[in-house]
């Protein structure tokens, strides 16, 4: 089985400060990879490296390689195409100051799609997938920013799906939304797994346990351990720190 993403010896520095110190691991196609670890462990930085948005942080320097389907992402000429192959959901829901429809149609339009019927089809499909369609189908022209936090986060997921990504990255998506909505989105993610690879950064270790096929534990910029979720959450993972963290006896 070909790996979807291959990361080898990835190092990231912000100025003098190291954020990732030489991390190597692979991501399998159509798996949900849970990424857990306390704050400052490099999880968000990792996602920014993968879709190359870290380039917007001027003081950040990256060494090592990230391969997507065997291609080094640094050699990809059309970085916008790369970003469209990766859906990104950030911790705080950001509805763009556009209508709900335009929020979801944003990425297809920037990619050049103009046909109304195709856009309609994408908007409906993505909102359905994000479990938001039934709540907003009668008011697609109202502002996305006027939705509640949980709805905006689902809008963000619909938007991330609108460019038909192969990889979906979620960075602590449930931080600003209620448990019921979280559970609905988790169901959505399980359903999406058949179509794409999912990287799930989460502070809720139980969320990784519920969803992830494999789980990676990061600490202070190091990958401590990556293994099947069953092993990570068992009584004897390879590293004692992993056990302490997932059982809440850390530090």
């Amino acid at each position: 089985m070909e790996n979807k993403i291959e990361i080898s010896d990835l190092q990231v520095h912000y100025g003098d400060k190291s954020a990732l110190n030489g991390v190597s691991f692979d991501v399998h196609p159509n798996e949900i990879l849970g990424i857990i670890g306390p704050a400052q462990s490099g999880k968000t930085t990792l996602l920014k490296v993968i879709n190359r948005t870290l380039e917007f942080t001027p003081e950040a320097t990256v060494q090592g390689s990230v391969k997507l389907d065997g291609v080094d992402i640094d050699t990809i000429g059309d970085v916008y195409e790369l970003r469209r192959r990766i859906g990104m959901v950030l911790p705080l829901p950001v509805g763009l100051p556009l209508s709900i429809y335009d929020n979801v149609a944003f990425a297809p339009r920037t990619a050049g799609l103009r046909t109304k019927s195709e856009l309609d089809e994408i908007v409906e499909r993505c909102l359905q997938q994000a479990a938001l369609w039934d709540e907003v189908k009668d008011r697609l022209n109202t502002l996305g920013t006027k939705l509640s936090g949980g709805q905006q986060q689902r809008l963000t997921i619909a938007r991330a799906l609108s460019h038909q990504p192969e990889i979906l990255c979620l960075d602590e998506f449930s931080i600003a939304i209620d448990p019921v909505t979280t559970m609905r989105i988790e169901d959505v993610l399980k359903a999406l797994q058949t179509e794409m690879t999912i990287l799930l950064v989460t502070n809720l270790v139980q969320q990784a346990k519920r969803l992830a096929d494999r789980t990676a534990f990061f600490l202070n910029g190091d990958l401590i351990e990556i293994d099947t979720t069953d092993v990570i959450f068992s009584d004897n993972p390879a590293n004692q720190a992993t056990y302490d963290y997932v059982n809440g006896t850390f530090g």
């Binding site: 948005t53 950030l90 100051p97 944003f106 920037t110 991330a160 460019h163």
Partner: protein
């Protein structure tokens, strides 16, 4: 329970005193404005009429109206903003949206700050040297407008930067994550959500361009020039013009026996035009606040 202590009473007394103090200070600001406008209107009433606005000065400026200086000021303001607004706005977009921290951006920002602090008479001297003499424009509306443009440029850059910074960074990040280029992000999200702030900043520069005397008196404004009354295209931008600010100075200090109401009438028209333009900016801001999208 809940009986007031001595400290509580004292806190409440100080609270009241401070609130009234700040209120009084705020009110003091309104009084001069009302006095100025009231006094000007009172003195100007005998001469104010449409005839005053649309007739040229007569009898060595001792009588008649203010058409030539009024139209001249409009020309100067419009031409100068046509130059400074696009350059200022686009420069600010570059500095805020594209440029990374470097020696170039640091120098540019330093230039903006310092240019804004240069006295207007210095701008005038520069205008004479650069536009009137070196560029060979002569004393003309064009030279005077360019001088005014140099003067308003840094403030437009600063106000545009403020408007752009008011658009949350998270919007830009969301767009970049969706595969949008910087330009697509600017065009679809940043500019539509900051355009009113940008325009407000530009409009407020109208009052500065209209009010300044020093930068134009050596570069294109003249004491007296008769033009076709009622014709909006009476001036040619390669020629000199009259201007309200300079006209007011002239008839107040250089010409004896001017009808008393005329300087006041001129001042009322100058202040009134500026207030009118500022009112447009205020309405624009209120309009935008009501349809703020986040």
């Amino acid at each position: 329970m809940f009986t007031e202590t001595e400290i509580g009473r004292q806190k409440r007394r100080i609270e009241n005193v401070m609130r009234i103090f700040f209120l009084v200070m705020t009110s003091l600001m309104i009084i001069p404005l009302l006095l100025i406008i009231g006094y000007l209107l009172y003195k100007a009433l005998p001469v104010l009429s449409l005839e005053f606005l649309f007739a040229n000065p007569k009898d060595n400026m001792r009588a008649g109206g203010i058409w030539a200086p009024f139209l001249g000021t409009i020309y100067l303001v419009v031409v100068s903003l046509l130059v400074s607004a696009p350059i200022g706005v686009f420069a600010a977009v570059y500095l805020n949206e594209y440029a990374r921290e470097s020696w170039f951006t640091r120098i540019t920002n330093l230039a903006v700050v310092n240019l804004a602090g240069v006295p207007s008479i210095v701008h005038a001297l520069f205008g004479v040297g650069a536009f009137v003499l070196f560029a060979g424009l002569g004393e003309s509306i064009l030279a005077a407008s360019l001088t005014l443009a140099i003067m308003t440029l840094p403030v437009i850059i600063a106000s545009t930067t403020e408007a752009l910074k008011a658009v949350p960074m998270s919007f830009r990040e969301a767009c970049w994550n969706l595969g949008a280029t910087r330009w697509q992000t600017i065009r679809r999200i940043v500019i539509p959500n900051s355009i009113s702030g940008i325009l407000t900043g530009v409009i407020l520069q109208v009052s500065r361009a209209a009010g300044e005397t020093a930068p134009i008196m050596f570069t294109g404004a003249v004491f007296y020039k008769a033009i076709a009354e009622g014709n909006l295209f009476a001036y040619n931008i390669t020629e000199q013009c009259m201007a309200l600010s300079l006209h007011l100075f002239t008839i107040s200090t250089q010409v004896p026996d001017v009808t008393e109401g005329i300087p006041y009438g001129t001042a009322v028209v100058l202040v009134g035009s500026v207030l009118l333009v500022n009112a447009v900016a205020i309405v624009l801001r209120i309009y935008v606040r009501t349809r703020k999208k986040w």
